[in-house]
Amino acid sequence: MVKKEMIAMLLAGGQGTRLKDLTTKLAKPAVPFGGKYRIIDFTLSNCSNSGIETVGVLTQYQPYILNSYIGIGSAWDLDRKHRGISVLPPYQGQKGGEWYKGTANAIYQNIYYIDQYDPEYVLVISGDHIYKMDYSKMFKYHKEKGADATIAVLEVPWDEASRFGLMNTNATNKIVDFEEKPKNPKSNLASMGIYIFTWKVLKQFLLEDEQNELSSNDFGKDIIPAMLNKEKKLYAYEFQGYWKDVGTIKSLWEANMDLLSDNPELDINDPTWKIYSVNPNQPPQYIAPEARVKRSLVNEGCLVYGNVENSVLFYGVYVGLGSTIKESIIMPDVKIGANVTIKKAIIASGTVIEDGSVIGDDSGEITLFVEDHRIAVDSTVISR
């Protein structure tokens, strides 16, 4: 195999339990986002745009939709000879097999995969976050610092800091202390779950961690603290820009709404940093004479006869005459009849909402609707 200076390992096995019914049939990275994407498109596009040509995708929970979506990686230009994308599910070997026990264990179980590329560095990322980042800049920083590990960090508001893994750094950005979700944070530099490791150092720690029966085999809880204990050189790489963990219904809704302002912090219409996705090749959207569309994102294949405001419409959505959709996310192939009112809701793929129904309300709570429901004529539904 051709030697690679750095390869990426993308953790995509998470269930995303806080996304509730959205993830009953698919893994969190496969959850639809932003009118045409799945969450994992952002990390895969970052890899492609950063010039990373070898990506191992670690899958575990409900992998089918994710696997078939990734395919051979052609949407992200990752269908390459001698490199490209590999989907890496847990497997059985001669001594039996086991599930990925934690993020670090998932990498441990694929040491063979990494070693065949003989990389000097490994980028560990997850498919759970919405952000645009040039990993090659972080890589350059890692090499300049001569670090054993570099962790991308982001300043978060102090009152939210205790939800994150936090770094305390010295004047040179060297990490002196790491706390996982502390009650009384001493820092507001949060880990973004993006790591670059010098492979031979990480490999050693993974082997040792696996011997420790008390370990939860997790990067944040086990590997990083162990590296700090042994006085390895860990540096924080400060990221400026939009980054969002869309792990809850509320944050998923907010991240979608963030795209709707006239100049959003996350620009998805940047020709120099395209967000790639698998394209269903549908016709242009039709906006009827009676329709009104404001402050919204609308994808191909939509037929809009009603009013759409502050909303995100995925492909193939039909909005009937006299219907009003506000502050909502309408996932692929949802059919909305006439005179329907939808307010602050997430409607999952394939739902049919018949004439006159009322979904959601003004309470400020988000109404979530899961796949393949049919809502009968004139229903009123506020479900959470």
């Binding site: 009118g35 006239d262 219409n269 996705s277 394209n279 016709p283 906006i287 919204s296 759409v308």
Partner: protein, 365 residues
């Protein structure tokens, strides 16, 4: 349909769309917000199960080749068969499609399919060629010619067919000024590949070079030549005016459904733009909008291709704006066609007549 090979013959196409066909062949003209005309025929082949498609390109094919690529978007990037592109390359000037076919004789001989269906690259239609094949077999025809009755008002020149009550072709009128109700030949024919090769060689050796005129028309009595009346939606596009009118017809729900939804999607090259964005100040009615657009102004009765930017206060009415157009603040556009990548400056007013004005690719106005 593994028994049929498809040919898109661009040799006889008239590049008749004024400035729109100045630097590209007609098959490559953008249509319907995100397509090129050739997408319809290519998608028809693929949906009919044809897996071997040869494109015989003649003029201005750079943009066509760029669009087709490896044929991946149409699932024609195959180990076996797939998409074959044969630009015209002879030192001699083009004498007719037979010469172009004859130069590529090995392509026809090597293809394993028993039948061949030759068509053109700029028809907007949804046709299932399997139905044509079934009818061809049922009638015991040697050659089947596909035609469509002319229902438009404008004057136009086409080859027409006279058919009897059994749809058998009795006579052909070449280059006729057509009236409503005439059967316009759609430059599309089906026959056994062996017959196609025989006719091609024979006619070539006689020093004649147009397949329809010299190989089919002259043989109406020697072979069973059957007509196939295509009854689906199919606009005749032969001028800027008809291009414009039929583009605008896409804003009719029924036409939209017939062309883009009822028969499965039309495939085209994907470009990874984000969903269209409607800003707070946008007002859009009765329009087709493609992905990658960003709209802060007013758009009425118009078609916006991928990546068009409409700034605040700009007004677009009854117009077609092709890829990457940018309309400056306060500009007013009525009855115009902007080719790709046209920039219109702030407060500029551009108005066409009933026949819309075309603004050339990449111009800055």
């Amino acid at each position: 349909m593994e028994r049929i090979m498809g040919v898109i013959n661009l040799g006889n196409e008239k590049d008749s769309l004024g400035d729109l066909t100045k630097h590209r062949c007609q098959a490559s003209v953008p249509f319907g917000g995100r397509y090129r005309l050739v997408d319809f025929t290519l998608s028809n082949f693929v949906k009919s199960g044809v897996r071997n498609v040869g494109v015989f390109a003649r003029n201005y094919y750079r943009s066509l080749l760029d669009h087709l690529g490896s044929g991946k978007e149409w699932d024609l990037d195959r180990q076996k068969d797939g998409l074959f592109i044969m630009p015209y390359y002879s030192n001699e000037s083009y004498k007719g499609d037979i010469q172009h076919f004859y130069d590529n004789l090995p392509y026809f001989e090597r293809s394993k399919e028993e039948y061949i269906l030759v068509t053109q690259g700029s028809i907007v239609w949804n046709i299932d060629f399997r139905h044509v094949f079934e009818e061809h077999k049922k009638q015991g025809a040697d050659i089947t010619l596909i035609y469509k009755d002319y229902i438009q008002e404008e004057k136009a020149v086409y080859h027409t067919l006279d058919v009897d009550e059994n749809e058998r072709v009795q006579a052909v009128d070449l280059e006729k000024i057509v009236n409503q109700g005439d059967n316009v030949f759609l430059n599309t024919y089906l026959m056994k590949k062996s017959l196609f090769i025989d006719l091609m060689k024979e006619t070539y050796e006689q020093g004649n070079y147009d397949f329809f005129t010299d190989a089919i028309r002259t043989n109406l009595e020697s072979y069973h030549v059957q007509g196939f009346h295509f009854k689906g939606y199919m606009p005749f596009i032969h001028s800027v005016e008809s291009f414009y009118n039929h583009s605008m017809n896409l804003l009719d729900e029924n036409v939209l459904q017939q062309l883009f939804y009822n028969h499965g999607f039309i495939y085209t090259k994907v470009n990874h733009g984000p969903p269209a964005k409607y800003l707070q100040s946008s007002q859009v009615v009765n329009s087709l909008i493609a992905n990658g657009c960003s709209i802060a102004g007013t758009v009425e009765n118009s078609i916006l291709f991928r990546g068009v930017k409409v700034h605040k206060g700009a007004i677009i009415r009854n117009s077609i704006i092709m890829q990457k157009g940018e309309i400056g603040e306060g500009a007013l556009l009525e009855n115009v066609i902007l080719d790709k990548d046209v920039k219109v400056s702030k407060d500029r007013i551009l108005k066409g007549d009933e026949i819309p004005t075309v603004f050339a690719k990449s111009s800055h106005l």
